[in-house]
C-alpha cells in the first residue's frame, strides 16, 4: 500500500515537472529567444491558458505527500525552510507577472513583468533542482525525524550541479515547446536554441552520473539489484536520443515528446533509485524516512485509494479537453496581428 502511494506521488511530481517544466523553461528563456514585444507576447500567450492548471499538479503533489507521508512532508519542509519560502515567493512573483502583464499596455510595465517572469522562472528551475539534489544526497535527519539545513548548507556542490542541470533541462524543454508552438521568428530562434540546450543537457546528464554514484551509491545498486528498474534509465537515454534525432530531422513534435519522456525517465529513475526511501539520510546515517516509516495509517491510505483515482481520471479528462481546445490550431500567431481580425466563432 505504501509502495503504491510512493508510485502515485512520483507520478504526480513527474507530471508536474513535464507540464510546468515547459512553462518554467519558456519563462527562463523568453527574454533570450523572443526579440521584441510581439514575440514575447506570443511566448507568454502560448503558455497563458495552461500554466495555472499545470501548477495545480504541484499543489496536488504537495497534498498527496501530506496525505500519504506526513512525516516526510513535515521533515522536508521545515528542514529546508528558507529554500521552500523562497520557492513560495518566487511562485507569487511568477504567477502575478504572467497574469498581470496584459493588464496594462505600457512597454515599461510589460518589460518589468517579463523580467520578473524570467528571473523567477529560472530561479525556480534552479531551486527545484537544488531541492531534488539534496534529497538524492540525503539530509542530516536526526532520531526525532527532523533535520535542519541552513540555506547555504543546502547549496552544496552536488545540489548546485543538479540545480544547474535542472535549469538547463527545463530550458531545453521550454525551447522545444516554443519550437513547436511558437510562430515565425520566435519558433525559428527557439529551433536554434533547442539543439544546443539539448546537447548541454546530454553532456551534463552524462557528467552527473559519476557524482551521483559518489554521493549515493545506492542509486546504482538499487537499480542493478532489481534489473527491471533499469527500464527507467533506459527510457531516459532512449528519450534523449529520440529528442536529438527529432531535432535533426526538424520533427519538432517528436523532439518535444522526446524531451518530455526524458524528464519522465529522469524522475522515475530517481524514484526507483531512492525507493524505499522518500527522504534518505546522509550516507551511513540510520534515520532516513522510508515509505513505511513516513506513511499515514493504513485506513487513511486505503480510503484515499478509493477517491484518488476518480479525481485523477477527472483531472486527466479536463486537461485533455483543455489542451485539445487551446492547442488545436497549428501555430500561435502574434497577438497584435490577431487583434486586428474579428474573433472567429
Amino acid at each position: 500500500m505504501t509502495t503504491a502511494w510512493f508510485c502515485f506521488l512520483a507520478a504526480m511530481i513527474t507530471v508536474y515537472v513535464v507540464l510546468d517544466g515547459f512553462d518554467l523553461g519558456v519563462g527562463a528563456l523568453h527574454l533570450l529567444v523572443a526579440r521584441d514585444e510581439e514575440e514575447r507576447e506570443a511566448a507568454t500567450a502560448a503558455i497563458g491558458p495552461v500554466w495555472n492548471g499545470n501548477e495545480v499538479w504541484l499543489i496536488a503533489s504537495g497534498g498527496v505527500l501530506f496525505l500519504a507521508f506526513p512525516k516526510a512532508y513535515a521533515a522536508a519542509f521545515s528542514g529546508l525552510y528558507f529554500g521552500l519560502i523562497i520557492v513560495l515567493w518566487l511562485l507569487v512573483g511568477r504567477g502575478l507577472a504572467l497574469e498581470l502583464r496584459h493588464q496594462i499596455a505600457n512597454p515599461l510595465w510589460r518589460s518589468a513583468c517579463d523580467a520578473v517572469f524570467a528571473l523567477s522562472s529560472g530561479t525556480l528551475a534552479l531551486v527545484f533542482g537544488v531541492a531534488l539534489g539534496n534529497v538524492v544526497r540525503g539530509v542530516p535527519l536526526g532520531p526525532d525525524g527532523y533535520f535542519h539545513l541552513t540555506f547555504f548548507q543546502s547549496l552544496n556542490w552536488y545540489a548546485l550541479l543538479i540545480g544547474v542541470f535542472g535549469l538547463v533541462a527545463l530550458c531545453a524543454h521550454g525551447a522545444g515547446f516554443l519550437a513547436l508552438r511558437g510562430g515565425g521568428g520566435l519558433a525559428a530562434r527557439a529551433r536554434g536554441w533547442a539543439p544546443r540546450l539539448t546537447l548541454a543537457e546530454a553532456l551534463l546528464f552524462a557528467a552527473l552520473i559519476g557524482p551521483t554514484v559518489v554521493v549515493r551509491k545506492a542509486m546504482v545498486t538499487n537499480l542493478v539489484d532489481h534489473p527491471w528498474r533499469l527500464v527507467f534509465p533506459v527510457l531516459t537515454v532512449g528519450a534523449l536520443a529520440a529528442a536529438i534525432v527529432g531535432q535533426r530531422r526538424g520533427d519538432w513534435g517528436r523532439a518535444f515528446a522526446g524531451s518530455a519522456l526524458f524528464l519522465v525517465g529522469l524522475l522515475t529513475t530517481m524514484a526507483a533509485g531512492l525507493y524505499p526511501y522518500l527522504l534518505p539520510a546522509h550516507q551511513h546515517r540510520p534515520y532516513g524516512l522510508t515509505v513505511d516509516s513516513a506513511a499515514s495509517g493504513h485506513h487513511a491510505l486505503t480510503t484515499a485509494l478509493v477517491w484518488w483515482p476518480v479525481g485523477m481520471v477527472l483531472a486527466a479528462a479536463y486537461f485533455t479537453f483543455a489542451y485539445r481546445m487551446f492547442f488545436r490550431t497549428a501555430t500561435v500567431r502574434s497577438t497584435s496581428a490577431a487583434m486586428d481580425q474579428p474573433p472567429s466563432a
Binding site: N52, V56, I59, L67, S78, F82, L96, H299, T335
Partner: protein, 459 residues
C-alpha cells in the same frame, strides 16, 4: 508560549488573513457570475441576454485579477503547514491530508482548467460550453471552500480518528466529511462570501449610477446585488449563524463564554450588546445587555444555564479573551447593520425608488468594505476562540510548531517581514489594476485583459 511559536502564529495570521480577502470575493462573485451567465444563456439572442452577458464579462475581468492573487497567495498556506507547523503536520496529516488532497484533486483541477476556458474561450467555444465553464468555476470554488472548511472543522471539533503512535490516524472518512461542525460552518462561511459578492456588485452599480455612467449595467448590478445581499444577510443570521453559535456552545464552552463575555456561570444569562471584558477582574464592565436572551438563544429556554469562564480552568481559556470577544461582537454588529442596509435597499427597489435615491446609493457604495471586515472578524473569532488548542482538546498550539532547531524565531521573523513586504506590494498592485478596470467600465471593448484572454485572440 515561546517566541518561535508566536512568530509562526503571526506569520500564519498574516498570510491566511491576506489570502482570504481574495477567496471571499472569488467565491461570492463566482456565484453571481454563474447567475448572470445563466440568465444570459437562457435569454440568449435577446437584448436582455446580451446585457447580462456583457455584465458577466465585466465581472469576469475583475474575477480574473482577484483569482490570480488568490491563487498565488494561497499556495504558501499549504506549504506553511510543513515549514512552520511541522509537528502539527506530522500529527494530523493522516487525517486532514485527506481533505487537503481532495481539494487539490477535485476542486483545483476543475477550477483552473475551466477558468482558463471561461476567460479565454468566449469566442472559441459555444455559448453553452461557456456557460457550463462558468458553472464549473462556481462549483470548483465552492467545493474548494468545502474541503477547507472540512479541514478546519476537524481542527475545531475532531472526529473520525484514533491516536496511535503519537499521531492521529483516520478511521472514517465518512465521519470526517459529516462532522457535526461542518455543515453549519460551511453554510455560514459561504453565505458570508456571497454577502461580500452581493455588496460588491451593488457598490459597483451604485458607483456607476452616482457617476452617471453605464446605466443599464449599473441597474443590473444594483438589482442583483441588493436582492442577493438581502437573501444572504438573512441566511447569515438564521439559520446558519444561530446553528453555528450552538455548535460552539456545545463543543467549545470556553470559546463560547469568551465570545459572549460570560464570566460567572448563570441561569437566565443576558445577551451582551456592549461591554468590555476584564480578565483581571473576571467580569464584564460597562455593559448594555438584554436580560435572559443568551439563555434563550442557546437553548430556547429563558432560564437555562450558560457556563461562564469563571468555571473553566484558565489554561483552557482562549489565549486572548478580549480578542475573541471583540472580534465576535464586531462580526455580529456589522452583520446586523448590513442586514438593515440590505433590507432598506430591497424595500426601495421594490417601491421603484432605489435607482434615484442618492442617499441609499451612497450607503450601498461604501458598505462593501464592512462585509470584508465582518468575514475576517468571524474567522478571527473561530480561530482565536479555538486557542489554546490547535486541534481542539487534542493538541495545543504550542506543540504544533516546527522545532525551534529547524525554524528559530529569528528565521521566522525574517520570512514574516518578507511576506509582509511582498503582500503590501501585491495589495497595492491589485487595487491599482481594479481601479483601471473600473475606470474603463463595462462597455470597453479594448484588448483582452488577461494572458489567458490574449491567448484566445491569438488563435
Amino acid at each position: 508560549m515561546s517566541d518561535h511559536v508566536l512568530v509562526d502564529r503571526l506569520q500564519f495570521t498574516l498570510t491566511v488573513t491576506f489570502h482570504y480577502l481574495f477567496p471571499i470575493l472569488t467565491m461570492g462573485l463566482a456565484l453571481f457570475i454563474a447567475y448572470l451567465k445563466t440568465v444570459a444563456y437562457r435569454a440568449r439572442d435577446t437584448e436582455r441576454g446580451e446585457r447580462y452577458d456583457a455584465a458577466a464579462q465585466f465581472w469576469a475581468k475583475i474575477f480574473a485579477v482577484n483569482f490570480a492573487v488568490g491563487v498565488v497567495t494561497g499556495i504558501p498556506l499549504e506549504f506553511q503547514f510543513g515549514t512552520n507547523w511541522a509537528s502539527f503536520s506530522n500529527f494530523a496529516g493522516g487525517v486532514i491530508g485527506q481533505t487537503l488532497a481532495m481539494e487539490g484533486v477535485f476542486a483545483f483541477f476543475a477550477e483552473s482548467v475551466f477558468l482558463g476556458i471561461f476567460l479565454a474561450g468566449r469566442n472559441r467555444v459555444s455559448a453553452r460550453m461557456h456557460w457550463i465553464s462558468a458553472l464549473f468555476v462556481f462549483a470548483g470554488s465552492w467545493l474548494s471552500g468545502f474541503f477547507i472548511i472540512a479541514t478546519n472543522a476537524w481542527m475545531q471539533h475532531p472526529v473520525g480518528y484514533d491516536v496511535a503512535n503519537g499521531r492521529a490516524e483516520l478511521n472514517s472518512l465518512g465521519k470526517l466529511l459529516t462532522n457535526d461542525w461542518l455543515p453549519w460552518q460551511y453554510a455560514h462561511n459561504m453565505s458570508g462570501a456571497a454577502i461580500t459578492g452581493a455588496f460588491v456588485l451593488a457598490a459597483m452599480g451604485a458607483f456607476f449610477l452616482l457617476s452617471d455612467r453605464h446605466h443599464e449595467f449599473a441597474r443590473i448590478c444594483v438589482r442583483v446585488g441588493v436582492v442577493g445581499a438581502l437573501i444572504f444577510c438573512a441566511l447569515q443570521v438564521f439559520p446558519t449563524g444561530d446553528r453555528q453559535a450552538k455548535n460552539v456552545f456545545e463543543h467549545q464552552p470556553a470559546a463560547f463564554a469568551a465570545m459572549e463575555g460570560v464570566f460567572p456561570t448563570s441561569k437566565g444569562a443576558p445577551l451582551v450588546i456592549i461591554g468590555n471584558p476584564s480578565t483581571e477582574k473576571r467580569r464584564l464592565e460597562s455593559t448594555i445587555a438584554l436580560p435572559r436572551f443568551l439563555s434563550f438563544m442557546t437553548s430556547r429556554n429563558w432560564t437555562s444555564q450558560v457556563r461562564g469562564l469563571n468555571d473553566i480552568p484558565t489554561d483552557r481559556w482562549p489565549s486572548s479573551v478580549p480578542l475573541v470577544y471583540y472580534a465576535y461582537h464586531i462580526m455580529v454588529g456589522l452583520g446586523t447593520i448590513l442586514l438593515l442596509v440590505a433590507a432598506l435597499a430591497a424595500f426601495l427597489l421594490w417601491r421603484g425608488r432605489l435607482y434615484t435615491s442618492r442617499a441609499m446609493l451612497w450607503t450601498l457604495m461604501i458598505a462593501f468594505p464592512f462585509t470584508y471586515i465582518a468575514n475576517i472578524a468571524g474567522w478571527a473569532t473561530a480561530e482565536t476562540g479555538r486557542q489554546p488548542w490547535l486541534v481542539y482538546d487534542v493538541m495545543r498550539t504550542a506543540a504544533g510548531a516546527s522545532p525551534a532547531s529547524s525554524v528559530p524565531a529569528g528565521t521566522g521573523i525574517f520570512t514574516l517581514l518578507g511576506f509582509a513586504g511582498l503582500y503590501l506590494f501585491v495589495g497595492i498592485l491589485y487595487l491599482m489594476l481594479l481601479v483601471r478596470i473600473i475606470a474603463r467600465g463595462p462597455e470597453d471593448l479594448a484588448p483582452p485583459t488577461t494572458s489567458t484572454a490574449a491567448a484566445a485572440s491569438a488563435a
